[in-house]
């Protein structure tokens, strides 16, 4: 029998161990303890976040599938739903960035097709230390390579994403991946195992020792010295196997052969079988002797917790088993019946006829204790001021060029060119064409738009307002494309929640997220939590990443972020109240993070975004681009670069000049261009200042005197600052 000490080494507390003994009425054996330790890990049980997550709104008129299944989904009309979810693969990526990021993509794709949706898009959300650090460059290069390798090979376009570079991610990078899928509403499949006597079939890759201990060790422990001994657990992805698995799963579904379907993710067979049994309120018998193995001599507990990739589990009626196996054979996917649905409400593990573990399913899935957090706002700043890279008295032109070249603002083209954004022939707006990616839907003029956003530094300044800003920036991106938000997914990347200051960040951020969602009537359809993102240097910036899917009535009118027509008027629209503290310029100057951001009138922002969206949908605007990092002038410069055309603008003089030009308030300001008449009509619905005119080969700014005159070529050169990282 394993000891309490071993249970603790597996990540359980002594109290949790006692509770397990109580629940099963005896001491757990090795198989049972391995399974419990994973099912009761932070990763599977959400024991430090579940209570908080319950405060998020999960109802909405267009909701098709809420949190709880492998992915959530929204109704996009004509009987179609779009499923989506974002998930973290931070710690595996810190250990082995190429495979970590690749398997992160593989995992989120399986969540999508596990509910019967065909994956149609991937987005990535990345955080690294400053690119001046060789380690950050290595992580960036390999994570991007891994995402591209997997997504490109499986034939799902990667249509968007985001990347930020900040010191606090130096030792703990973030790699979050989001996927979208398309399905007929009536053909979604659930993961609930039902039908006593039905067969349980494992199909896909064989099982090896990959990721053994991964879920409890890699996903829930702080990284630090001695990481090397965690390394043999690295999982390697095989996108070719995933592609076959995907096509095979969808064909099984189409032929009506599946009673239930579930992917194998963290904690492998343990969590997938326990979840299926729990949802169906049944028991499951699993014979590990029938699991195809890649390595000799694997122990039963190893088979139960292996995180080998590219595997699925399904329930099938015995009479249909042969047909199911034939479809798997056609796709060259190995499949084997490994067990059966029972009425025992227990997960029973067998080796042949011998029973080697028996655990009540409710104990595994529902009985892990949920903890209240001890919350305390920090008395002083948690994060050091960033190192200054720009002198305080730099001229507006110097500031503009420095910002345009700053790692957080420079063009992401060297990243997204490594991703296939076109496969599947739905892409209407690719990266850098619009603020949100836009996909056409089948057999209709309608389409969807999607964006993923979240600035950890802003959240570090003010977790409540920063989280609201993440939502607003995302909805602003959708508005610029002409899309109305339908549903939201999120990934909460935070430090150790057992520390009161981190607990405060988490609590405040979730409160902000919930308030923003309610203000926008957008339900949270699902998400993911990644805690303990800390290193010896301290915690990461608190980083809630928000992904929103919206709809457009007419994809042919999807918005563009770049100016398109010489002679158009340029305006700033929206209740934009820029401020410098916490801005990208403040970072370049090396300013301390402020304790708090300016409050936002969310209702006013929503009204403004609706006006922008309506104007885009009506075809009134030539371009629309939200004012984000770097402020107004950076947004104007981005619109120039996006359309390869200059602009001449004028702003009022005054003491506040730098704040006007470079101050930030995410999601509330928009740089729009169009005819004078169109902008006047927009001005009737939202506050709007005409700034100048589109045209020429330069960006020219005057404010009583000539302040800026830079050519497009100069801007383009500065904006290309990330290219050398991928030379």
């Amino acid at each position: 029998m394993p000891t309490v000490e071993q249970a603790v080494a597996l990540g359980l507390t002594p109290g949790e161990y006692e509770l397990i003994v109580e629940k099963i009425g005896r001491q757990p054996n090795a198989v049972e303890l391995a399974v419990f330790s994973l099912m009761w890990s932070e990763h599977c049980a959400y024991k430090h976040s579940k209570k908080l997550l319950r405060s998020l709104p999960t109802e909405g008129p267009r909701l098709a599938l809420g949190p709880g299944e492998n992915a959530g989904a929204v109704d996009v009309g004509d009987g179609w739903v779009v499923a989506f979810k974002v998930e973290s693969h931070n710690h595996p990526s810190a250990v082995e960035p190429f495979q970590g990021a690749a398997t992160g993509v593989g995992g989120i794709l399986r969540d999508i097709f596990a509910i019967g949706a065909r994956p149609i898009a991937i987005l990535d959300s990345l955080r690294f230390g400053e690119p001046s650090s060789p380690r950050s460059r290595y992580l960036l290069d390999h994570a991007v390579g891994g995402i591209g390798h997997y997504g490109n090979s499986v034939g799902v376009p990667t249509i968007g994403g985001e990347v930020y570079f900040e010191g606090p991610y130096e030792q703990n990078c973030l790699v979050n991946a989001m996927a979208l899928g398309l399905a007929r509403a009536d053909s979604l499949i659930r993961s609930a195992a039902t039908g006593i006597g039905n067969a349980l079939v494992l199909f896909g890759a064989s099982t090896g020792r990959d990721g053994i201990g991964g879920a409890s060790v890699l996903a829930s422990a702080e990284l630090g010295a001695g990481d090397d001994d965690k390394r043999p657990t690295v999982q390697v992805g095989d996108p070719f196997a995933e592609k076959k698995l995907l096509e095979c799963s969808l064909e099984l579904l189409e032929r009506g052969l599946l009673v239930a379907l579930q992917d194998l993710g963290a904690a492998g067979l343990s969590s997938s079988s326990a979840e299926m049994a729990s949802k169906g309120e049944v028991g499951l018998d699993v014979d590990v002797a029938r699991v195809p193995l890649r390595e000799a001599g694997m122990e039963p507990w190893e088979i139960m917790v292996s995180e080998s990739q590219e595997r699925m589990l399904c329930v099938v009626e015995p009479s249909q088993l042969d047909e199911l196996l034939a479809v798997c054979e056609k796709w060259e996917v190995d499949a084997s019946a490994i067990g059966a649905v029972t009425d025992t409400r227990a997960l029973r593990v067998f080796v042949g006829d011998e029973i080697v573990g028996e655990m009540p399913v409710p104990a595994l899935v529902d009985d892990c204790p949920l903890y209240d957090l001890t919350v305390e706002p920090p008395a002083a700043g948690l994060y050091p001021a960033p190192p200054p890279v720009l002198v305080a008295d730099a001229s507006p032109q110097e500031v503009l060029l420095a910002l345009i070249a700053a790692p957080n603002i420079a063009s992401r083209l060297p990243l997204f060119e490594q991703y296939d954004s076109l496969v599947q022939s739905r892409t209407v707006r690719r990266p850098e064409q619009a603020d949100a990616a836009v996909l056409a839907l089948p057999e209709t003029p309608r389409g969807i738009a999607v964006s993923i956003d979240g600035s950890g530094r802003r959240v570090a300044c003010d977790p409540y307002t920063g989280a609201i800003e993440a939502v607003l920036e995302c909805t602003a991106n959708l508005a610029c494309a002409g899309a109305e938000p339908l549903g939201l997914t999120n990934c909460l990347n935070f430090g150790n929640p057992e520390k009161p200051h981190i607990a405060w960040q988490l609590t405040e951020a979730i409160r902000g997220l919930g308030d923003a969602c309610r203000a926008f009537d957008v339900p949270v359809v699902g998400g993911n939590v990644s805690l303990y993102n800390e290193s010896s240097d301290g915690p990461i910036y608190p980083t809630p990443v928000v992904g929103i899917v919206g709809e457009l009535p007419d994809v042919a009118r999807a918005g563009r972020s770049g100016f398109t027509r010489a002679g158009d008027a340029v305006a700033l629209a929206g209740p934009f109240a820029p401020s410098l503290p916490g801005s990208e310029l403040a970072k370049l100057r090396g300013d301390e993070l402020p304790a708090g951001l300016a409050q936002i009138d969310v209702a006013a922002v929503r009204t403004a975004q609706q006006a922008i969206r309506d104007a885009v949908r009506a075809g009134e605007l030539s371009s629309a681009h939200d004012v984000a990092e770097g402020g107004l002038l950076v947004a104007v410069a981005e619109s120039c670069l996006g359309g390869a055309i200059g602009a001449t603008i004028e702003v009022g003089a005054g003491d506040e000049l730098m704040q006007t030009l470079f101050g930030e308030s995410l999601g509330s300001g928009f740089v729009v261009s169009g005819s004078q008449d169109a902008l006047r009509r927009l001005g009737e619905r939202v506050s709007l200042d005409i700034l100048g005119t589109v045209g020429g080969e330069s960006l020219v700014l005057t404010s009583s005197e000539l302040l800026i005159d830079v050519t497009l070529d100069e801007l383009r050169a500065a904006h290309g600052a990330l290219a050398p990282l991928f030379a």
């Binding site: 996108p239 070719f240 076959k244 060119e417 022939s425």
Partner: protein, 222 residues
């Protein structure tokens, strides 16, 4: 015109190619399963893009041995029109239906980019609807697209007019010899190219230049 689009395990742009073929007026298109040697009477074969067999070992190396390829080889030898796009181009080179080979891009990375390609030789079966010197905007997306052939082969390709498409000035994304983007066999009935014409057939995508390759095939077939 009845197009057949081959589907290997790991094909990704098969449905895209199918949809592109179906845009050709009067044409129909169907998928051809790799394990089925029967071409089901199609009048032209498209080997689509993707990562057949994961592109493991060497791009296109494993796919060329599938049952359907045996039939495609016979079909090509009998004069049938065969178009290979990206991974399909790689497969046709490996199968010996086209000269040369495709090597890893000079920058070793996957590149997804809209590029300009110049029509070097119009009025061929795959360029019937184009004019010499015309510039087409078509995306590339690949990791191994650097066309290579020994110097003597390159010379004869140039001399015999087998080079149909070249990357426009400064647009060579991968280091291909002589900026070659697409070549035919000596008989002119087998054509391989790295750019993806099936991703330039819909106005919403920004370009419809790629459709000309599919309509050319239909016209050449008569």
């Amino acid at each position: 015109m009845r197009f057949g689009v081959v589907r290997f395990p790991g094909s990704c742009d098969d449905v895209d190619a199918l949809l592109a073929c179906q845009r050709v007026p009067g044409a129909s298109a169907q998928l051809l399963w790799h394990g089925d040697a029967d071409l089901h009477g199609v009048e032209a074969v498209v080997i689509p893009g993707g990562f057949s067999y994961g592109d493991y070992l060497r791009v296109g190396a494993i796919a060329r041995f599938s049952p359907v390829m045996e039939s495609v080889i016979r079909f090509a030898e009998a004069g049938g029109l065969v178009l290979g796009i990206c991974n399909g181009f790689q497969v046709l080179c490996e199968a010996g239906l086209l000269p040369g080979a495709l090597l890893p891009n000079v920058n070793r990375r996957f590149i997804c980019r809209q590029v300009n390609v110049e029509v070097v030789r119009a009025r061929m079966p795959f360029s019937a609807d184009m004019a010499d010197g015309e510039v087409l905007s078509i995306p590339v997306k690949h990791t191994s697209g650097r066309y290579y052939a020994p110097a003597a082969v390159l010379e004869s390709l140039e001399a015999d007019g087998q080079i149909v498409l070249r990357y426009a000035h400064d647009a060579n994304p991968n280091g291909s010899s002589n900026d070659i983007a697409g070549v035919t066999n000596a008989a002119g009935n087998v054509f391989g190219l790295m750019p993806h014409p099936e991703h330039a057939v819909e106005p919403l995508s920004g370009s419809v230049d790629g459709l000309k390759i599919f309509t050319s095939m239909a016209h050449a077939h008569g």
